[in-house]
């Protein structure tokens, strides 16, 4: 089968999907045909959502976050690091209080009362997260480690979902002008690693930008040790669990010419390879220095001194003694690329200081640099301002900084029994 025939067949398959019949400025659901390989973790159909505008050809694609899994309990959504949406994505997901854990991001809210961003007037696309694989996997796994009598079949189909959704968007919305890929947490990782799939399918005619929030791919060369590269055990685990090295896995595809300069022995090389492959694009990465959620996800299941820490102080010490060196090596690697920006404030008292672009941007400033919030970083990335490279020094004032009513409300609700 020729490449051309394969592409046409793929598009023809997608024509079987329900077509956009909702009006402008409405969230419409698209269920991808099973034959595309798209699926949620429980095998149910993958659904994503589109909110079109007739006034723009620009497009902002947001990847939902929510944990990850490589064992049965986490794939069932159990535990604090469990994967989101283990029972799939309902047709009315956007009308459900559960969408994105009830969190708003300005990138999917046209009428956000708290935060304006320029992409709110663009075509908006939302990729829900239901595969436990940071939107990256290509493997069907059977997990029976927790409940042997009732194994969990997990369809780690993130890559197929994103590919099929991108092809649907191209077939039904055409080439965008500007394109933004963004996501928070696992969605930040997903937006990063599937960037070439979406970008190549959509072939935008204008500026293309990545804004990956709190989903860093840390440096972790396999020739090193966990003491040198604390994310190495995580990377080795997910490569096997999610089929990244299999014939159609992302690592294999990156190495086969999809990305220039990708080192298959270092997942952390993806960010640099993206910058080299798409020199005209802009890549922006964000996270908090005191993020105790993604750091827990990265290390807790691999280092007994974290999991068995006798108290909160010891736990945080064990966590951050790995997270902070990881951040330092990560930013040092990113410094090599002219089209890469990063923005790392110290702390925000919500969601374990995890994610800058959820709820609103309050509490995301780097005061020592005279920056009140992450908003200028977002605008500068989209508008091709000078690359920003900022890491806020330790700032105790962040612990007591005033936050918006929306952030306070979220804290109130999330702490309620």
């Amino acid at each position: 089968m020729t490449r051309c025939t394969r592409i046409l067949s793929a598009f023809a398959l997608l024509l079987g999907a329900p077509l956009a019949q909702a009006g402008y400025f409405q969230w419409e659901m698209v269920e991808l045909p099973a034959a595309t390989g798209a699926a949620c973790g429980d095998g149910s159909p993958y659904r994503f959502f589109v909110n079109r505008t007739p006034f723009s050809h620009d497009m902002a694609v947001s990847f939902e976050g929510g944990g990850a899994c490589w064992d049965q309990k986490a794939c069932l959504g159990e535990g604090k690091l469990g994967a989101a949406n283990p029972n799939g994505i309902p047709v009315d997901y956007m009308q459900s209080p559960n969408v994105a854990h009830g969190l708003v991001t300005p990138f999917t809210a046209r009428n956000d009362p708290a935060q304006t961003v320029q992409t709110q007037s663009w075509n908006l696309v939302f990729f829900p997260y239901c595969t436990g694989d940071v939107h990256a996997g290509s493997k069907v796994a059977v997990y029976a480690d927790a409940y042997p009598a009732t194994p969990r079949v997990e369809y780690h189909r993130g890559q197929a979902n994103v590919s099929a959704a991108a092809q649907w968007l191209r077939a039904n919305l055409g080439q965008p002008a500007k394109l933004l890929l963004t996501g928070f947490s696992a969605g930040g990782v997903g937006a990063t690693v599937t960037y070439p799939l979406v970008r190549d399918a959509l072939q935008p005619t204008g500026n293309v930008t990545l804004l990956a929030d709190s989903g860093p791919l840390m440096q972790a060369p396999r020739s090193g040790s966990p003491a040198q590269y604390p994310s190495l055990p995580l990377h080795n685990t997910i490569r096997a669990a999610w089929g990244l090295d299999e014939a159609d896995g992302l690592v294999t595809r990156f190495s086969s010419g999809l990305l220039v300069g990708f080192d298959p022995n270092n997942l952390g090389s993806v960010s640099g390879a993206l910058a080299l492959t798409y020199p005209g694009d802009r890549f922006g990465y964000m996270l908090f220095t005191r993020d105790s959620n993604f750091s827990a996800f990265s290390y807790e299941k691999f280092y007994p001194d974290i999991a068995n820490a006798p108290n909160q102080s010891a736990y945080q010490h064990a966590l951050f003694s790995r997270w902070w060196p990881d951040i330092a090596q990560w930013t040092a690697a990113l410094d090599a690329y002219a089209n890469v920006s990063y923005y790392v404030p110290y702390f925000r008292n919500v969601n374990d200081s995890h994610c800058l672009t959820i709820i609103d941007f309050s509490g995301t400033g780097i005061e020592s640099a005279g920056i009140a919030s992450v908003a200028p970083f977002v605008d500068s990335s989209l508008d091709r301002g000078p690359p920003t490279r900022l890491v806020e020094p330790e700032n105790a004032a962040d612990f007591t900084q005033p936050l918006s009513i929306y952030v306070r409300l979220f804290n109130l609700i999330s702490r309620s029994p």
Binding site: L8, T116, A177, I359
Partner: protein, 222 residues
């Protein structure tokens, strides 16, 4: 059959392959459904519908050119007049919310802010029902409006809770195909697990599961 599918795909893709330039777009970007129905050059036979018999005033928040172009675009659609009314309502509501947000930032009389909030509050359930806002977005909007309407924080929290209970529906019922799929999937996995460990072929199981999934969920019906 394959050739027909490929031809259909080619026709469908053609409009999208041309970059959308401002010159082609005029005031409104060409919607995919219109492009597909009329073909890339509008040459495909399509009944020419009379102009819509509605000429409502330009809603706030958009230009008269944009509104006129929208009317042209919806011409001929059976639901065109209703869709225009919906869009007009949406634009008006969205623009008032924008003014509310700006008023909070710049500061206006509390009574004026409350009046503005009250009108937006009344329109919010309809916006949610029509999928024009997400549930999380709606709750955030409601909390902003309540802050202007209800000065007492504890009463405000109660009101938000009541509003959420009344307007944010729980997720829809699970897909009816799922239960049967899971039953048959369990049978496949049980049969595979019953084999001696050395005989278990993960690739074969994956292929069987995929075949079952495709059989169960077909071609993307909702």
């Amino acid at each position: 059959m394959a050739a027909a599918a490929a031809a259909l795909a080619t026709v469908w893709l053609w409009p999208a392959d041309e970059p959308a330039t401002p010159a082609r777009l005029s005031a409104v970007a060409t919607p995919p459904s219109t492009a597909a129905a009329h073909g890339p050059s509008g040459a495909t036979a399509a009944p020419v519908a009379p102009a819509l018999q509605v000429a409502p005033a330009v809603p706030p928040g958009i230009s008269s050119e944009q509104w006129a172009a929208l009317q042209v675009q919806l011409r001929g659609r059976p639901d065109g007049p209703a869709e225009l009314r919906r869009l007009g309502d949406y634009f008006a509501w969205s623009d008032a919310l924008r003014r509310f947000r700006e008023a909070r930032l710049t500061g206006i009389a509390a009574t004026d802010l409350q009046a503005l909030a009250q009108t937006r509050d009344e329109g919010l359930p309809e916006r949610l029902r029509r999928s024009e806002v997400t549930a999380a977005e709606a709750r955030q909007i409601e909390s902003a409006l309540l802050e202007a309407i209800q000065p007492d924080p504890s009463r405000r929290a109660d009101q938000l809770e009541r509003w959420s209970t009344a307007h944010l529906a729980p997720p829809a019922a699970v897909d009816t195909r799922q239960a049967e799929f899971e039953r048959r999937q369990s049978e496949l996995v049980a049969a595979w697990s019953a084999q001696p460990a050395a005989a278990r072929d993960r690739g074969a199981l994956a292929r069987e599961l995929e075949a079952l999934r495709r059989q169960s969920f077909g071609s993307g019906s909702r």
